[in-house]
Structures are given as C-alpha cells and as structure tokens.
Symmetry: C2
Subunit: 357 residues, 2 copies
C-alpha cells in the first residue's frame, strides 16, 4: 500500500481533468470535491473513481465544458441545468448559490438537473459551515435498491448529508446512504470474498441473502431498516424523498431512469428527465436566532452526546462527522493510502494520457 | 369495540378543550389535529391522548390561552415562541406561516420553541398540499432513544414527515419515527403481553432485548437501523438532525432535557430551552419548475412504484401515505373504533367535566 499526499492526488486529478477538456479552474474545483472523499476516508468516492469519470468523458456522456444555467428562480430557490457537467463541479456551484440565496433570504434551496455523480454529499453540505449556515445536500443515483415488498430496483442509494456548525466544537456532519449499507461496502466484501450480513441485500426473488454479488444477478440493496419489521419502509420513504427532491423538483431522471455512473452500462433510452438530480439547502442560523446562542447550544448538545454512558467503555459515542474528521487529520499528515488496484489503475491512466503519476 | 363518528369525537374533544380554557376556535383547530390521527389509523396519537392532555392543562404544564409570538424573522424564516400552547394548535399555526412565507419567497421555514406534543407530523406536512407545495414537519420528543454505542436515553422518537402533491394520484405522504419502532407499537405489545422483535429495544446495559417493558427499567429504544451493522448510526444521525432543527434552531429543550408529555413524569429542572421544539417547511413546487410538470411527473413516479414487481403477489407495493388514506376513507364512513380502555377513559373524563360522551 503506497501513501500519496492529497496535494499530489489533487494535482494529478487536475491534470487529468484538464486533459479531458475541462478549464483549469473548474478542474481544480472538481478535484477538490473528489479528493475530499479520500481525505475523509470514503475511498469508494475518491480518486479511485477517476478512471471511471474519464471513461464517461471519452464516451461523450459527461461534458467537460459545461455552461451551467439557471432555468427557474424565486427569492429563496433556484433550479439549475448543469449541462451534463461532472457533479463534482455542479455540486459546489449549486451549493454556493444556495448559500448566496440564504444570505439575503434566510434560507436558499437549489435543485439541479442534467448532472452526474457528485462525490460525497457531506463535502457539499459542509460548504455552508464557514458561513454560519446549516448545509444540506442530497442526490439520486442509479437504481440498485428495491422498495419494501418489491423485487424491482427503483431507487439509488440516495445519500443525504446535514452539516451543522458549532462554536468551539467541531461541526456535526451526518452523511449517509439511505440504504442499510452503501454500495462501496459491498464492493469491499466482493474484493475480500466475504459474505454480507443478512439484512443488506435481497436476491432476485426478494429473499434475504448474504451473497455480496447478488446485485449482478437481479438482486437488490435493501432500504435502511432491512425488512418491514425493522422499518425498511422508513428507509424506502427516505430514499424516495431524496429522489423526489433531487429529480422531480429539478426535472432530472428519477427512479429506474437514473443513468448509471459506470461507462459499461448504457443509460435507459426512454429518459423521463435530464441526467441525474441533486438538491441543496443552506439555512442561516441567525435567520432563526442569534448565531452565538445557536452555536453555544450546539456545543452543549455535542458535549452531552459525547459524554453519554457507553455500552462498551472502549467504544466512545460518535458525533456524526467525528471519524471522517479524524481520518482527514491523519491523512493530511500521512498521505492517502492507495490500494494497489487503484494505484495501478491510476498509473495506467497517467500513461495513457501521458501524465506522470 | 365501539365505533364513533369522527365528527362526534371532534365535538367531544372541542368541548373538553374549551372546558380546559381554550378559545372555541382554537379548540376546534387543536381537535382537528388530534382527530386526524384517529382518522388516519395512528390511534396512539389521537383521541386516546385527550385525558393526558387534560392532565397537563390541570397541572399548569400546558397553556390553554397561549399568545403565540414571532420572536425572529427573515424573508423565508420565522421563529415562534408558542407560549406553551398545545402543539396541536401551535403546529397548524406554524405550518400556515411557513406556507405564507413560501407564497412570497418560494420556500418558508418555521422553527417553534415553547411548545408541546403536536400529534401526528403528517397532518402538519399535509397542510402544504392544497397550496401545491411540498410540506415538511418534524418535532423532538422526550428522550427514549439511545444513540449507537450508548446506554443513555438522549433522543426522542423524533418523527419526520414529507408530503408531496401529485396531479391525479393521491399525494405521497411519508410520516415516520426515526427509530426502528415507534413507542405506540411497544404499547400495543405491552397490552397484549407479547415480545418485541429483536432490534427494537436494548436493556439498560445496551444488550438487545425482546422485553417491551424494558424502557421502565432503564432500557432504550433503538434508532432506525437497530444496530451498527445494520445502520443504526444513520437512524441516530436522522433523529439528531430532527432534534437540532426543532430545538437548537428554535431555542427549545433538546436531547435529555426535552420535557415528558405524560403528566406523571416531571420535566427536568435544569432546562436548556423552552418547552419542546418543532420545525416546519413548505416548498412551492412552482418555485422550482412549472407546477404541472412537477405534478405529472409525480403521478408517473407514483404509478411506476405502485406497479413494481412484487415479492409476494398478494402484497402490493405501498406508496407512502396509502395505508393511512385508505384507513381515513373507511373511518369517515364507518366511524373510529375505540378500544374499550380508551372508550372508558373518555367516558370517565366526560363525567368528571360534565360533558356527555
């Protein structure tokens, strides 16, 4: 396992994106989004995806020179047509507009159509933190999840993120797929040839399964809650709400029509909208109460939860965002560990495009 | 089991609330909120709670003549001090202000402090539907839920509701506690003397338990997801977000300080805010795209999900809100079934206050 500094990864990613036709400034923004996943330890959404993004550019399925346009507007809302941009670029663009709206209006809400995979939701939500705002980000994704009682794959893992600023404490950052397990966790099990816990996956007939390869033969991921008795209908509600806000509000594809983000699968040929959809929100805390009051009570909330009684003395209570922040702290210093498969794919990509890695 | 018409229940509830000191008009609003739970089949939140509400009025812990006040405002936001009103009244009041904000601003967001139990979240969210808006409602609640890895009860069942209008199809209405099981479901098991499924509850040491009475001896409800391996940290994130939006934004009590809604338990004597907190949102769909486009795609979404492949041919796929709407349809015609215990408690309440039931 090789460790590479995040700056080096960022630089490599930039040069690759520029080679794909992106403007230098936009390549830098997209690379910052991408590498934030590696820094925060969500390796499935980071530099490992670079070769995949390049395949989408090559196939003409992602636009390196997008003209992102506002297509609808109200005082607190905006709808964007991302012109088939990488979501890595459209995400920060849209979130910054939500923040701008919130500055004047108290809150700002931006729906995005015609976009692509946007990396980790948490990164976008966190842009609000520096403005003393609560940030919200979500996206739909290609269908891998079956609603409760169904064998049809109609929803993506549809992640949602909430970032909340505090005063002295680090921020609260929740960022999670609305399924029991994210797809990245299955990929890890596939690589290790290990079984999945029951409750993550069903087979093509809707029976619970431990086979992490079940999705290749008609199986599906399960909504958060796993089964009806344990609340899978709630996970289904949540994933559905993300789909509706991200795509039906914006005019993107929804449900089974969300295009895949892997180049070897073709998008459905009867689209119901444009690209994939995202939804962003920013809430200025001082639009609700004086900022200092909010931030200090948030500190108190965090401290209370952190100091709660533990089931196991060695396992601290986690404040959402803690593990990712600690990983980022370490990886800024020690570099980002690259799995040999990923490392080799990046070296190959660099060779192909004549960019050293 | 006696069946009573919803109009008769509404009338009884009104007269009881008036006897408690409420204005007739406000008693009618609160009763509509209350009976909506009975109509929609969420019996734990309906007329069965009336004696409990009366005990809170009697103890001076809920204010029958509140002066609800705006204490903070921005173009798209409001914060209300509900003056210790019944949440049954403060909820519709706040939601209607969110709708008004959305009319001018595209979206409207209202945080409420100093309130009490507000009935079912779905009722409030659904007020937005008649305005071609998406409605959002959530509330915190007294602490019964332990965060992942903890034995401390720090969160309530903190429900959240999303209501989305459609064109010809009935609306999408998701309304769920952010725990594996709502507290009402435990109460049913307690009454029947039946065990709970594993994954709903933990005992005071944090071990999973089937005992539905575990909460009486230091146990806790589990966040949606049940355990770490099945994503309980996501349910914890969601419940925590509801707590933060409802209480830290508004200035209400949060976490372990949320006052209980049963009169036999005293509120904590070191409050960190005022009463319990709610959070409401309204999003005008035509602030994002032409309303007809939205509504027709929503129809298509609903039809697609309804027609998905079934695991069991006899179990249809449920669109969120279907079961409650069908129950309402039946109960409007056949009346609301009253469990003998509830029936007797209402008769006793009526006698006590000289109001026939």
């Amino acid at each position: 396992m090789r460790y590479v500094s995040h700056k080096q990864l960022h630089d490599f990613s930039c040069r690759i994106f520029i080679k794909a036709g992106m403007l230098a400034e936009e390549a830098a923004i997209a690379s910052t989004t991408l590498i934030s996943a590696d820094l925060r330890g969500i390796d499935s959404h980071g530099i490992a995806r670079l070769p995949g993004y390049m395949r989408l550019f090559k196939q003409g399925r992602m636009n390196p020179r997008p003209q992102i346009k506002t297509i609808h507007e109200s005082p607190s809302t905006l709808t964007l047509d991302a012109d088939n941009a990488p979501g890595l670029l459209a995400g920060p663009y849209a979130m910054d507009l939500a923040i701008k709206k919130a500055e004047t209006c108290g809150t700002g809400w931006v729906a995005v159509q015609n976009s692509n995979h946007f990396g980790i939701a948490g990164f976008h939500a966190m842009r609000a933190l520096h403005h003393q705002m609560i940030g919200i980000a979500m996206t739909n994704a290609s269908p891998l999840v079956a609603p409760t009682f169904s064998t049809s794959r109609l929803l993506g893992t549809n992640p949602i993120a909430f970032a909340v600023p505090a005063f002295n404490e680090p921020p609260f950052v929740a960022d999670f797929a609305t399924t029991t397990a994210a797809n990245g966790k299955l990929e890890i099990l596939q690589r290790k040839n290990e079984n999945a816990p029951l409750g993550w996956i069903q087979d093509k007939s809707g029976n619970t399964s431990e086979n992490p390869n079940e999705l290749a033969v008609g199986g599906a991921l399960l909504p958060l809650g796993s089964d009806r008795e344990h609340g899978s209908h709630k996970g289904y509600c949540l994933g559905a709400t993300v789909d509706i806000l991200s795509a039906i509000l914006s005019g993107a594809n929804y449900g089974p029509w969300v295009p895949p983000f892997v180049a070897f699968l073709n998008p459905p040929d009867n689209p119901v909208g444009k690209g994939i959809g995202h939804f962003f929100g920013a809430l200025r805390v001082d639009a609700f109460r004086p900022a200092d009051d909010f931030l200090k009570h948030m500190d108190h909330w965090i401290q209370t939860f952190r100091q709660a009684e533990r089931v196991n003395p060695n396992q601290p209570i986690i404040i959402p965002g803690d593990p990712e922040r600690l990983t980022e702290f370490t990886r800024i210093q020690e570099g980002i560990p690259l799995h040999p498969t990923v490392d080799n794919s990046l070296i190959a990509l660099g060779k192909e495009l004549d960019i050293s890695f």
